[in-house]
């Protein structure tokens, strides 16, 4: 069982969260020329890192906020959590 420290609610069990994938993916800017390759990278292509991975989770059975979680994909260790709009250094 993972324990995720929701920046809004505190430490909660994994059961309350749902996963949203790689948080480093950026949607191409609208109102600009977007190449097929840019859309591909946004929609499909993923690095799927082994090790530290910044990802989105939603506290679906809690505050329902989207949050960012920095987690190790090999050990499942969670290093830091952020609010969705927080910049990650």
């Amino acid at each position: 069982m993972l324990h995720i420290n929701c920046p809004h609610c505190g430490m909660r069990s994994q059961n309350e969260f749902s996963y949203g994938g790689d948080a480093s993916v950026k949607r191409p800017e609208l109102n600009k020329e977007v190449s097929d390759q840019d859309w591909d990278n946004f929609v499909y292509n993923r690095k799927s890192l082994r090790g530290k991975h910044l990802e989105l989770w939603q506290h679906i059975s809690g505050c329902r906020q989207w949050i960012k979680v920095e987690r190790d994909t090999a050990t499942h260790e969670i290093f830091r959590t952020f609010k969705a709009d927080e910049e990650v250094a």
Partner: protein
Amino acid sequence: MQKYSIFNLVKNAFSNHENWDLAWKDPTPKEEYDVVIIGGGGHGLATAYYLAKEHNITNVAIIEKGWIGGGNVGRNTTIIRSNYMHDENGLFSEFGMDLWRKMSQDLNYNVMFSPRGIINLAHSDAQMNAYARRGNSMRLNGIDAVLLNREQVKEIIPMADFSENVRFPIFGGLMQPSAGTARHDAVAWGYARQADSMGVDIIQNCEVTGFDVSAGKIKGIRTSRGNIKAKKVGICVAGSTNILAEKLNMTLPIETHLLQACVSEPVKPVLDNVVTFGAGHFYVSQSDKGEMVMGGDLDGYNSYAQRGNLPTLQHVLTEGIAMMPFLSKLKMLRTWGGIMDMSMDGSPIIDKTHIDGLYLNCGWCYGGFKATPASGWTFAHTIAQDRVHELNAGYSLNRFNTGHLIDEKGLGTKTWIS
């Protein structure tokens, strides 16, 4: 190579079975190969075997980070089927069914192929309609499919929950009678033994650390046991695909996720078929030892851990108990996990890459084991002829760019959509 037969078994009994040849050698890597296959799993071993058998290319090495049979080929739930609706998947898998039927003779190794049939249960009228459509598509592609009503299903699996007041009543099911199971370890060992006997070097405990590419052409690989030159390189590493892709500066439509399976304590024969729950993701069959072999959903988040987490297992087994209540009385014997190369449309990739002489085989999601022979056969063809075969033409890497996705169930990495 020593042939495995009843006569050799009796002969070797007189020497206490101490004089059998090794099934495959443990060679040191040569300086150069015509083809290097990275990944000694089922698909990699099958690829090497068909390179030698179908294309007479025997100067081949298989580079395996761990040991033969230690990855997903030894971690799956051994189900073999071709019950797909889309032509690309159906024709590819049905070609594989033919290879499965001949495999024990072909490899001189008993893979215990057991065509016991698979039943996908339906729990609504809409699902029955969808199954009728899929069954018709299958039959148009020459695949056997039978639509069963509730009574017919009850006759085959009376132990399922047929009571009236359940959340997901059984309306019927779609059966592929020719589907079944096989002994997964034997598949790996059988392919390894035959490939080795035809001159393929199986190099274990050898991790690939990099690639030598110059002027857009592959020249060789770097490994923990030295550099190896190669005219062609095939990548066939399932859940580790993204790790190798990163070394090639490639970003793929693949995420690595963890899939769990488990077996119960062995019980007397109760279930003759493979059965899947239609209102979630759960499947079960009974092994020859009597264990109930079960599996279902991904853990749901990127993982390279090769071991599972309990919330998903609990969720999957809740579905199992809803389908077959007697499962709740069984003790769990073992659980384990493997890391899957989940593609974004749920279908695999067997293709050339933008690097000349580098080939890619990945994206097997939940269904890698049953594809082992067809994947090896088509990947060997793609490597040997430097062009895709019509069977794997749909499994192209650029389909995500052109929009020709094969969304059999729309199940890729995003399990929460289903």
